[in-house]
């Protein structure tokens, strides 16, 4: 089932792309005060409130052939984002980012900052303390965020359609395939099968998210 494999690959790559960015952003937004923090916060959360088509259009403006970034990527790395699988990944990642940042940030804010202080008095430097104490304790939030981002990436439609288009075996993910099947005469059965797959994936994602939140409750029990 190439559609399913492509969808899973795009969603997985988008989630992986999101992870480090979301952790860094959550860290900055939750723990630091710097000029432009509100602007950054708004920018990260924009895909939540903007129509996905508008986000896709924005990505075209940023990474299209005529743009500075698009030209640089094409010349330097021979990478073309629009109308490619990489583009579908980027579109899904940008749409999923705010969900992941919110989840990671909630996880981070639930951690007692005193624990890092305790780690410092035990001889750990700031980065050491973050990696060995805060990051493991954030893990449930990160897992929950990743599951959410993965599920959202599987369901991403508007931004992908606008930025990466609907190219079979390249950018036609599950949702685009359902849409295409419904547009095709006699495609209802295919659409039904794809909908079933889509629902199974959603249920699996919910179960994993639930497991992660239970783990979080055990870890974050006041000690």
């Amino acid at each position: 089932m190439p559609v399913l494999l492509l969808s899973l690959r795009v969603a997985a790559l988008a989630t992986l792309l999101c992870l480090p960015v979301a952790i860094a952003l959550a860290w900055m937004l939750a723990r630091h005060r710097f000029p432009g923090r509100m602007v950054l916060d708004a920018l990260v959360h924009a895909p939540l409130v903007l129509p996905p088509v508008v986000v896709g259009y924005g990505l075209l403006g940023l990474f299209g052939r005529q743009s500075w970034a698009g030209e640089w990527l094409a010349q330097r790395f021979a990478v073309q984002l629009p109308f490619s699988t990489a583009g579908a990944v980027l579109a899904a990642a940008v749409m999923a980012l705010p969900l992941m940042v919110r989840s990671v940030r909630l996880g981070l804010e639930a951690i007692d900052r005193g624990l890092e202080t305790a780690a410092r008095t035990l001889g750990a430097g700031p980065l050491d303390a973050f990696l060995t104490v805060s990051l493991p304790l954030m893990l449930p939030g990160i897992v929950a965020g990743a599951v959410l981002a993965f599920a959202a990436s599987l369901g991403e439609f508007g931004a992908t359609m606008t930025f990466a288009a609907n190219i079979p075996d390249e950018t036609r993910t599950l949702t685009l395939a359902i849409y295409t099947a419904l547009q095709t005469p006699g495609g209802e059965d295919t659409a039904k099968a794809l909908v079933m797959i889509s629902m199974s994936l959603a249920v699996a994602a919910l179960l994993i998210a639930e497991w992660a939140s239970r783990l979080a409750q055990r870890w974050l029990r006041p000690a």
Binding site: G114, T117, T121, W219, A223
Partner: protein, 380 residues
């Protein structure tokens, strides 16, 4: 009183404090020179600045300026721009709320600091500390499954295993009930002998400090009121207002002289005589401290008969200090030992108490239970 510090007086074996720490509206002015051996009790009421003091030494407090030196190494020297990072100070900090890492088992918690401690310095004390704190049964457990007392024991062990040059304990018993407090104090007494790391022990409960402190740093409203040997300061009547009326009393250094198994009593000898107390689990010859609250001491002019009180100590009135309300603090000299008795002005007038009057101090044995008795450092 805070000793003014000359800049050239910094010697090894001393904790030099001369700094101002601000937290919001609050300001702590700390000027003191503390011995970097034994246990220094940091005492004061809530809001006196006790936590701010240890946070400044640990490097956890943000707004601190001045100078902090431990054994000749500057933790902070604003004049020359020195400010060591928390992890470079190597202070073991035991927090009120233990702060065990919830995602690590007890053993991994204990090894966290030990793994990061430099290889030089005293030999690792893993076995000693595990044994002194009875931690071997807890190693496989998770922090959330521990009781409050067990958590503090693990926190103390974890801090010590990082081989700190100085231990800071910020009211480590605050969240524990009385029997648990007594138990942890007993462990701290054992540690003091097993692992000689200087310790600053913050408390607003004088009876905790009586058991363990060698030195006292007295804080009030952001200022150092006194710093000196514990036994001397605790008997200093000019400091009584800071120590609190109902906590006032005397501390007697005693030796276990005999046990009376039949009646379940122990006999303690001190310079002023003997005290019978509920039996202690301590071998003969053990040196210990008995804390006697002023309100547990009654006075008589002649040795009364038909009285249940067994402890009768002869002494002479040295001074009377009139307190607010109906109370008088009578200071006695019993062959060199100083005893405080809190009586009413009415009793004082009826007995005609004045300096030089010989009296007999009556002390109930039950006022001296094991919680009022601390074990003195064995190595001295």
């Amino acid at each position: 009183m805070g000793q003014p510090l000359g800049p050239a007086l910094v010697a090894p074996g001393v904790i030099e404090l001369d700094f101002i720490a601000r937290r919001g509206e609050f300001q702590l002015e700390a000027r003191a020179s503390l011995p970097s051996t034994g246990i220094t009790g940091v005492f004061g009421r809530s809001g006196a600045g006790k936590s701010t003091l240890v946070n400044a030494i640990a490097g956890v407090a943000a707004d601190v300026s001045g100078r902090i030196e431990v054994d000749g190494q500057a933790f902070l020297d604003s004049a020359s721009g020195v400010r060591l990072a928390i992890e470079a100070r190597r202070v073991g900090y035991v927090f009120q709320d233990a702060r065990l890492f919830p995602h690590l088992r007890v053993e991994t918690n204990l090894r966290y600091g030990a793994r990061r401690a430099p290889a030089d310095g005293p030999v690792a004390l893993w076995e000693n500390i595990i044994e002194a704190l009875d931690l071997s049964q807890l190693l496989r457990r998770w922090p959330h499954s521990l009781s409050g007392g067990e958590r503090q024991r693990v926190a103390i062990g974890r801090a010590l295993l990082a081989r700190p040059r100085l231990m800071l304990m910020d009211e480590p018993l605050a969240s524990l009930d009385a029997p648990r407090k007594s138990e942890i104090l007993h462990y701290i007494e054992r540690l003091r002998d097993a692992c000689p790391v200087p310790m600053l022990y913050v408390s607003h409960a004088l009876d905790e400090l009586v058991r363990i402190a060698d030195h006292l740093l007295l804080l009030s409203e952001g200022k150092v009121m006194a710093s000196g040997p514990f036994i001397e300061l605790i008997a200093d009547s000019t400091l009584q207002p800071y120590l609190g009326r109902f906590e006032a009393g005397s501390v007697l250094e005693c030796v276990v002289k005999s046990h009376d198994e039949a009646f379940g009593l122990s006999v303690l000898g001190f310079v002023g005589g003997e005290l019978r107390v509920p039996q202690l689990d301590a071998p003969l010859g053990t040196r210990l401290r008995a804390r006697l609250r002023a309100r547990d001491v009654a006075l008589a002019l002649s040795d009364p008969i038909d009285l249940s009180i067994t402890n009768r100590v002869k002494g002479t009135v040295m001074s009377l200090t009139f307190r607010d309300g109906p109370y008088v603090d009578v200071l006695l000299n019993a062959s060199g030992a100083h005893l405080h008795a809190l009586v009413t002005r009415e009793s004082c007038a009826r007995l005609g108490l004045a300096a030089g009057v010989p009296v007999i101090a009556l002390i109930k044995a039950v006022a001296l239970d094991s919680r009022a008795v601390g074990y003195a450092r064995r190595s001295r």
